[in-house]
């Protein structure tokens, strides 16, 4: 079950999606077993920005059909706060490799976002100095300050961005692609050309909800979310994720982290089958905080298809 990814040896192929598991809060909320039986084989931080961000005004959540819309707005302490306060607390998480075997340290992946190449560079340079950080993930779903479009939606822009930050770090560089684009495989290729070591997808799909129409209540027709629009995650997007991951894995040589709506080992298996190397679990952790460990277990259970992804997979 152990798997190597960009030079990192992981106990199993399941990690968390950025922004869907706050290990520090979880350590406070749960009794002590979490630290030594961490559900994920690698830990991805929430998106960190240069400056602290408070995030969007509430409400931030909406339950959709078989999914969740969030409009969190990337609250975080900012780069300095993260490096000074959070990173030391995150180091030393360990995960269980096999029942009975030695627990294994969980590599930390830091997810960062800038709104310009300059900001991304500053973030990457600062992270490069910290050895607790095993790899970097660049969240390029942020709106370009000039065009308003996602920076990551245009293959050429994305290639240039990656090319600019690539020389600044020797750590593995993962590009978290945006799914809100015409051709995600072209974007992945752009990232690879620019020097990315891996790509991850899918992020949430742009979505919206209105205040419930209640004949006796306030009129409908107004955006429910404080941030007006949000991102859809969960089972509703799984089939879209599978198509995007398959398209990307067929196009690029670098490893792919697949995610989107995974709830079970069978779902993870499908992403691996279409070419992902690792699988991230997001929204399902909200329903079951130990989902990551459960899914890793289900994946390892021979009855559910332990065999390595077959050569003649769907790619």
């Amino acid at each position: 079950m152990s798997v190597s990814f960009c030079g990192l040896e992981l106990a199993h192929p399941i990690l968390n999606g950025s922004g869907t598991f706050d290990a520090i809060a979880a350590n406070k909320a749960f009794a002590d077993d979490l630290r030594d039986a961490f559900p994920f084989a690698a830990y991805v931080s929430k998106t960190i920005t240069l400056e602290p961000r408070a995030g969007n005004p509430p409400p931030r959540l909406w339950e959709a059909a078989a999914g969740l819309i969030n409009s969190i707005g990337l609250p975080n302490k900012g780069l300095q706060g993260y490096l000074a306060e959070d990173l030391p607390q995150l180091a030393g998480l360990t995960t269980v490799r096999e029942p009975g075997a030695e627990p294994q340290t969980v590599p930390l992946i830091t997810n960062v976002m800038g709104s310009t190449a300059h900001e991304f560079s500053a973030l990457v340079e600062a992270c490069e100095t910290r050895e607790e950080i095993a790899a970097l993930e660049l969240n390029v779903s942020c709106p370009n300050v000039k065009t308003g479009l996602d920076i990551g939606a245009d293959p050429l822009q994305l290639e240039q961005l990656v090319r600019a930050v690539r020389p600044l770090t020797r750590k593995p560089l993962i590009i978290k692609l945006t799914p809100n684009t015409a051709d995600v495989a072209a974007c992945a290729q752009g990232a690879q050309e620019g020097g990315a070591d891996a790509v991850s997808l899918i992020n949430t799909l742009r979505a919206m909800s209105l205040t419930p129409v209640d004949p006796s209540g306030p009129a409908g027709g107004r955006a429910w979310l404080g941030g007006r629009t949000g991102g859809l995650s969960g089972p509703a997007i799984r089939a879209v994720a599978l198509a995007q991951v398959a398209a990307v894995a067929a196009r690029v040589a670098v490893p792919v982290i697949g995610m989107g709506g995974v709830q079970s080992g069978a779902h993870a298996r499908e992403l691996l089958d279409v070419g992902a190397t690792l699988v991230a679990v997001g929204t399902e952790s909200f329903r079951d905080p130990a989902a990551g460990a459960r899914i890793a277990r289900e994946l390892g259970d021979p009855a559910r298809g332990e065999a390595a992804p077959s050569e003649e997979s769907a790619r």
Binding site: A25, A29, F30, G55, P58, E63, A64, T283, F286, R287
Partner: protein, 266 residues
């Protein structure tokens, strides 16, 4: 603070009691951690969670622990949507997923100071377990929309009741009763849970009288353990607090106002 095991637990319904417009769901939990007053759990029925109109509920729902005794955890339910409705339909012997106890509960008053418990609607739930645990006798003031809901007052002992429609007790707001109490005893400590307008009324009144108040807030939650950053309320001085880990009980002094979305179902 009591901490939850890092796993959902599948618990069995011991019984369901009707309490006017509300239900008390009693769940067998002889081995679970002892919750503190104000803590909550994320609940989801084992079966038929999902589907139905609009394919909801999908995520678990937050409920205050209303009482924990005799190997049972009690929850006070009001049917306000697909998730609470499904939980209201549970029968004895059926099972539900439970994650908890979660969050930060109430802090006991300094000894010698009187506790005033102020509840509105289904928000009275965490005040019941608080009353159970308080060493000294507390004053209990509960407000309800109507007579059927006012029957919920039986969850606590010696409650004074206010109803919006005057069908029981004081005809008006529970904050009217609170005003009298605060005036009479400015050294009291207030513990409140209920709809947002009630909580805002309590907050403003206590701030004006310099009476300390602990408010148990509510907000739509996805996870209940700090993972999603979804359950926030704006706090004094800017920024937001996560109700599920920084609360649900928040010191009123940390708030400029109670967010309109941060109360119990009205």
């Amino acid at each position: 603070m009591s901490r939850a095991p890092f796993a959902r637990r599948l618990l069995t319904v011991a019984g369901v009691d009707r309490l006017g417009a509300y239900l008390v769901l009693r769940v067998e939990d002889p081995d679970g951690p002892q919750p503190e007053p104000g803590q909550f759990a994320m609940l989801a029925a084992e079966e038929r969670w999902g589907g139905g109109e609009g394919e909801r509920p999908y995520l678990p729902r937050a409920f205050s622990v209303a009482r924990q005794r005799g190997g049972e955890a009690h929850f006070l339910l009001e049917d306000v949507g697909p998730g609470s409705r499904r939980l209201c339909e549970l029968g004895t012997g059926e099972r539900l997923w439970t994650l908890g106890p979660l969050g930060r509960g109430f802090t006991a008053p300094p000894s010698g100071r009187r506790a005033i418990l102020v509840g509105g609607g289904v928000g009275i739930a965490p005040l019941a377990i608080l009353q159970d645990r308080l060493q000294e006798e507390a004053t209990v003031l509960l407000g309800f929309r109507d007579g059927a809901r006012a029957e919920g007052a039986a969850l606590l002992e010696q409650a004074r009741v206010a109803t919006d429609d005057g069908s029981r007790g004081h005809h008006g707001l529970v904050t009217d009763l609170l005003a009298q109490e605060v005036e009479r005893d400015p050294l009291a400590v207030v513990y409140a849970c209920g709809p947002a307008p009630m909580l805002e009324g309590v907050r403003a009144m206590c701030a004006a009288s310099s009476v300390p108040a602990q408010l148990a807030l509510e907000a739509g939650m996805a996870c209940g353990f700090g993972a999603c950053f979804g359950c926030v309320v704006p706090c004094r001085g800017g920024g937001y607090l996560r109700i599920c880990v920084d609360g649900p009980v928040i010191d009123a002094a940390e708030l400029d106002h109670v967010d309109a979305h941060a109360g119990a179902p009205a």
